[in-house]
Each structure stands twice: as C-alpha cells, then as structure tokens.
C-alpha cells in the first residue's frame, strides 16, 4: 500500500520504494545532468571549491576539539595544537592552507565566469548566489583570522571593525556593539568564534546548495558560450553536446583534483607560511592591545580591496568627485528615458555634494570604506553591465580579452601594494589602479558592445582527444 513502484532491486529497490527522492535527485544532479562536453581547464575550479569547503569543515571540526576561544588561552591553545596534539600541526596547517586555497580557487572560478560570460542570462541567479558565497567566504576568513589571537589577528580585526566606525552618526556605537567592548577583546574573540564555526558556515552551506541547484536548473555554460539545450537529440530529448556529469565529469574532475591536491599538499608540507603570505610572521606574536606591529597588512586575499581603502586620500577625493561627475554626464547622454536621465543627474549631484561638502566633506576614512565596499559588491552587477552580444571571450574582439587581462593585472598590483608599507609613490600607483579597477566595471556597458564580434557556432567546438 502506498509504495512507489521501483525499477531497482534489492536494498536500493527497498529504499527507492520508500524514498524515491534519493534516486531521482541522483539522476537529476549526477547521472542525468547533462554538462557540455567541451569543458576545459577553467571548469575544474567549482569542484575544487567544493573539496576545499569539505576540507575546511572537517579540519575545523577537529581544531575546535582542542582550541580555546578565550583571550587568555587562545594563542596558547593554537601552539598546543601545533606542538602537543598528535597530528595537530597537520590538521591546523591543512586548515590555514585551505583558507588561502579557497580564495585562489574561488578567484579562478570567478575569472572563468568573466572569461566565458557564465553570469549572462539565464545564469544571473547562479552568479548572484556565487557572489553571496564570496561575501560569506570573506566574512568567514575575517572572523577565523582573529581566533589564533596573534598580533595580526588582533590588529587586523581592530582595523576592520573600525571601518564600521566610519558610518556617520551610528558608527562609533556600532563598532562598540560589534566588538562588545571598547577595544577588540575577549568578548570579540568569543563572538567571532561563534560566527566562524557555526553562523557563517550554515549560511555558506545553504548558499552553496542554492548555487548548485540554480546552476542545474539552467544548465552549465561552456567555453563557447553556446546553449547546449537549444540542440536536442530528437530521439532522446537530451542535449546533443551534453554528457552525463557522472561518470564523465566525475572521472575528469578526479584527475584534476589529484593535481590540485599535489599542489595543495606541496605548499602545506614544504611552505605552509608561504613566505608570510599564507600565515603572517606577526601572527606568531601573541596579541598585545597596547602595541601595533610596525607593519600591518591583511592576508593576501584581502589586499586588493585594502589597497583601494588606503588609496583614498583627501586629495584623491577631488579626482573621485570629478570621476563621479563625468560618469553622471556620460550616463545622462546615454540614457534615453527622461526619468532615468534626471534621476541619474540628481543622484550624482547628491553624491558629489556629499563628497566635497557637508559633514563628510573629503573625509578619506568614510569614502575609503565606501570605495572598498563598492569594489567587492560591484561584482554583483556583471550580468547587467556586460552588454556584449556574445557570451564567450572566444567570439569577442581580442582587445576585450586584453582589457580583462589588464583588469587582472590591476587586481594583482593592488594586491601587491596592499602588502607593502604605504609610500607616496605607491599611493599614486594604488590611486591609478583604483581608477582603472572601477573604470573596467563602470565603462563596461560601453566597451563590451564595441568592436567586431565573431559569429558564434551553432554547436560547441570540441575535438575528441
């Protein structure tokens, strides 16, 4: 009575009759999920990210068994894990290396999106969930970095929490509310621990599920940017250029994963600190609330945004205000609907007025925080600001790829400058790079349409090897 008629035998048949969801979901997401057959190197990184997520969760669970979230014992308990807990060093280095690799993999994954237009219609939601995952990841990394309670943990958290202090009126109280004390202290450590081990991971897992479900509803993009669902096999109704994710891409990804783990463990065993980039030297000194280390910098994955924050000086504010004004004029000329035209003008006028007058006049701290925030959230807008008639870089003008590479270079330069002491010369470079960084995005609606596009083929290009 009420049992589902199963096509399977034995134990699987018994389960399937009672819970058909198991096999139908397996088919939907694995054995009958048709992925384009022309995936290349860049399509490894989504899977890698999933593996790193698992590594972080598993190593994290074991670290929590020995770690003490108490300002008096935190630093010591990390050293205890490193020296006295059998295998502790392995687990902890795996977690710290995993943190940096998470960002490497996610940055590569995002670059792939830019390269092949993976965020374009109908995959906007996939991209938005991805951006939210990226934000969560940044939060997770930031909260986790306080836990070893070293000098860099302490002062890094101090600087970032004080960013909220830049918000007018409520800022200083908000910063105290976040810290739970007048300075970063035991209360801060405890709540960051809670965020790091439970709050953010829960959200992160939910978002990862949403990211994959949204992807499997619309299907994967590919290096040609051709929709494989447009060309179905008339007999089976399956995409002609699609192959089942399992076993084809599971086997394919396991091969890539082997190479990835080779690199991962090479760094973990041979250079877990990676010259101070993965684990900063100053973090081997216990937190001292009375002395800031002579040179503080965030971990490498945050340095591009941090450079943008530092590049915002009082003089530079004039350049930025002029940039906003020029952009408003450009938009005014480009927009057709009068309502949109004038709304743009009014918003721009208010922004420029706030930048050069009033209580926030040329306040480099406030505007630096605004720019830094903008430099991250601007990724959300890509599906709409990219107006190219084709998705993939393969069929766009060569100089589009040039611009993308230039953007990556700017990102690297900003990242490098963020690890260095500020000097006037470096600040000028950071300011130039900040302008280039934002121009890439803000001018995209224009440049992405310009130039000669090549015809996109009907089917994906793929030569079996």
């Amino acid at each position: 009575m009420g049992l589902h008629k199963s096509e399977y035998k034995g134990l699987l048949g018994w389960i399937d009759a009672r819970m058909p969801t198991l096999m139908s979901e397996y088919k939907k997401h694995m054995s009958e999920y048709y992925a384009p057959k022309n995936f290349n190197f860049w399509y490894y990184f989504g899977g890698f990210a999933l593996v790193v997520l698992v590594i972080q969760i598993v190593t994290g669970i074991f670290l929590v068994m020995h770690y003490k979230p108490d300002a008096r014992f935190a630093f010591e308990s990390v050293e205890y894990i490193m020296r006295d807990v059998p295998g502790g060093w392995f687990i902890r280095y795996m977690h710290s290396t995993g943190a940096s690799f998470f960002f490497i993999v996610v940055y590569m994954h995002m670059f792939r999106g830019l390269l092949y237009g993976s965020y374009r219609k109908p995959r906007e939601l996939v991209w938005i969930f991805g951006c939210l995952i990226f934000l969560c990841l940044m939060g997770e990394a930031f909260f986790g970095y306080l836990l070893p309670w070293g000098q860099m943990s302490y002062w890094g958290a101090q600087v970032i929490v004080n960013l909220f202090g830049a918000i007018p009126l409520i800022g200083p109280d908000l910063a105290i509310w976040i810290r739970g004390d007048y300075v970063v202290s035991d209360a801060t450590l405890n709540r960051f621990f809670s965020f790091h081990v439970i709050a953010i991971p829960l959200v992160l897992l939910g978002l990862v599920v949403a990211h994959i479900l949204a992807l499997h509803d619309v299907g994967s993009n590919n290096p040609d940017g051709v929709e494989i669902k447009d060309k179905l096999d008339p007999r089976t109704g399956r995409p002609l250029d699609g192959i089942p994710f399992h076993p084809y891409y599971t086997v394919h990804d396991v091969f890539g994963l082997a190479l990835f783990l080779l690199a991962f463990f090479a760094i973990m065993f041979l250079a877990p600190e990676l010259g101070g980039y993965f684990l900063e030297w100053n973090n081997f000194i216990p937190a001292d609330p009375l002395t800031t280390p002579p040179h503080i910098a965030p971990v490498w994955y945050f340095t591009p945004y941090y450079s943008i924050l530092r590049a915002t000086t009082e003089d530079f504010m004039w350049v930025l205000a002029a940039g906003v004004a020029a952009y408003a004029i450009l938009l005014f000329l480009a927009l057709r609907r009068p309502a949109a035209k004038y709304a743009t003008l009014i918003v721009a006028l208010v922004v420029v007025a706030l930048m050069i007058g009033g209580p926030l006049k040329l306040d480099p701290k406030f505007w630096g925080v605004v720019l830094m925030g903008l430099s991250v959230v601007i990724f959300f807008t890509l599906p709409w600001i990219d107006q190219a008639p084709v998705k993939s870089m393969r069929y766009r003008p060569a100089w589009h790829l040039g611009l993308l590479i230039a953007f990556v270079l700017v990102f690297f330069i900003l990242g490098f400058l963020g690890t260095q002491q500020p000097t006037p010369f470096y600040t000028y470079i950071a300011q130039a790079c900040t302008l280039l960084y934002f121009s890439f995005f803000f001018l995209m609606p224009w440049w992405s349409r310009a130039g000669g596009f090549k015809p996109v083929p009907d089917r994906v290009r793929f030569a079996a090897h």
């Binding site: 509310w177 810290r179 739970g180 530092r310």
Partner: protein, 200 residues
C-alpha cells in the same frame, strides 16, 4: 481536493483573528529578538573595566613617554621639553585641525589649546589612530622618520597617518581627526586620573 475554483466567501471573523494573531505573534518575535541584539553590547564586566585609572607620571623624564592602559586602550603621557613645544608651533599651518574644532572625537575644553593639554608639559592622549584604530609609533625626533620628514611627531604604521607632538593629524592623511584626548585631571603634580575629569 477540488481543482475547481469556487470562491468561498471570506469569513470576516476568521480573517480578523488571523491578522490579529499574526500581529501579536510578530510583535512577540520582534520583542524576543531584543535580548539577542542587546547581548552584543559591552557586558557589565567590560564596562567596569572601563573605570578611570590613576597614572603615576612623576618618573617620566623630559622627552620621554609612558603608556597606561584605560578601557583596554593605550593612553600616552608624553613629558614634553620646551624644544618639543616649539616644534608643535611650527606645525600649525600644516595640520588638518589646528584648533581641535572637529567634533567626531570632541576635545575636552581644558585641552582645546595649541598644546592640547591641561599643562603644556604633559600631553595625555589616547594612542589610537582616528583612522582605523591602530596604535601609532613614536615620538620620532626631527628627521628620524621619512614619513614625518623634518617634523617631530607620531606615525601610524597601518595607513601612514602622521601626527605632531600635540597629537594633531597632518593634512592629507587617511586619519580625519586628531588623537583623542581622554577625560583626565591632575590629582597632584605627579598623579593623573585618566577617565575622569572635573566637570566645568
């Protein structure tokens, strides 16, 4: 279940009960969120730790600086020499807020003077940069720090803000405000109470 759409007449009493239940339940949920939001505030223990501290400044030789802890923050007491006081005057036109007019970190009236102190000899400031909360380094003598150039003062290691020996921030630096002057008063010539002042 029938798929035919037969619009049933709305039962006004049930609808009213439904709405009022949602409103009361919603209010209860919001009220229940309050303790969670409030739990983020500094605890009573943290507030107690923010009590005033007495600082013995008698042993600080001219030109030297000592750091005291108040509310977990470093409070500097710098014993300034006449030459140091002279160096402050030279910075007047190059600091962003020479007369401490800005209100983000209000300077107590008794320190709203050129030297930003009750007694010119002793500078008492919170050693936390008004930019993002790092603790600046110093004091550096003239020419001993490239970021200060020929001036004397403090340098923040995080984002390069520089301050003169009165804690006034130089122009065109990331920090918007001068170093904060905490409430303080002299109990005797050699003891300062930090965190409490005589209300004027």
């Amino acid at each position: 279940m029938s798929t035919e759409a037969i619009p049933e007449p709305i039962d006004g009493d049930r609808r009213a009960a439904l709405i009022s239940t949602c409103v009361v339940g919603g209010a209860g949920t919001v009220a229940a969120a309050a303790p969670f939001v409030l739990s983020f505030q500094p605890s009573e223990r943290a507030k107690a730790a923010g009590a005033p501290v007495e600082a013995d400044i008698g042993g600080i030789a001219p030109g030297e600086m000592k750091t005291f802890e108040w509310q977990g923050k470093p409070v500097w007491v710098l014993h300034r020499t006449p030459e140091m006081l002279e160096s402050i005057k030279k910075c007047d036109d190059r600091v962003a807020d020479p007369n401490s007019q800005r209100t983000a970190y209000p300077t107590p009236t008794y320190a709203k003077n050129e030297y930003r102190s009750i007694k010119p000899d002793y500078l008492v400031v919170v050693g936390i940069c008004s930019h993002l909360g790092c603790s600046p380094k110093g004091p550096f003598g003239a020419g001993s720090n490239p970021q200060l150039g020929g001036d004397e003062g403090f340098v923040c290691p995080c984002h390069g803000s520089t301050f003169d020996l009165a804690g006034r921030v130089f122009k065109n630096k990331p920090a918007p405000d001068n170093l904060a002057v905490p409430p303080y008063k002299f109990i005797s010539d050699s003891v300062v109470m930090i965190g409490e002042d005589t209300k004027a």
